[in-house]
Symmetry: C2
Subunit: 103 residues, 2 copies
């Protein structure tokens, strides 16, 4: 959970998550949205993977990244709740059927 906040601390990574929120994208596709080198992007992806915020699935030569809403939800909402501002959890996890921070 600390890793989630660490991951969120970087604007680039936050933007990646926002892009991923709309639809799953490949690493290369995501990279086009930023003016940093591929290796740098790769490093950002690694951080997001480490924080379990995204799910990477390789098909052929490309790797598709997918947002794991449930994890982001848990961290953000959990924290929000600790501060009183309710947080009406209602993420429609249509593509995370298993739910929950998987072990």
């Amino acid at each position: 959970m600390n890793k989630v906040f660490k991951a969120l601390a970087d604007p680039t990574r936050r933007k990646v998550l926002e892009l991923l929120r709309q639809r799953a994208m490949t690493a290369g596709e995501l990279s086009e949205h930023f003016e940093v080198s591929k290796p740098t992007m790769s490093a950002h992806f690694a951080v997001l993977r480490e924080a379990d915020l995204v799910d990477a699935s390789k098909q052929g030569t490309t790797i598709t990244y997918r947002l794991k809403l449930s994890v982001l939800e848990d961290a953000l909402l959990g924290f929000s709740q600790a501060f009183g501002f309710g947080a009406a959890a209602s993420a429609d996890k249509t593509d995370t059927p298993g739910k929950g921070t998987q072990p």
Copy 2:
């Protein structure tokens, strides 16, 4: 708003905010909850001040820190909303009547 997330990336600072949520506390009082030196705590306070997450008021020799809920709320809820999970904003900002990320 980036500063808020940067500030939130550190566990010590998050804990400070949680402590401050219950009641305003002096710098020394807060320091007692952690096993780091006073100067280190002071640096953390500076980061929180920079992010506008806390309000410092000096009375005599002591400085009382107070959580600025509205700023935390804006950042967290704003971000949450961008991801769909609603976020029912309802922080009782009894001591921040002005509200909103002050200009």
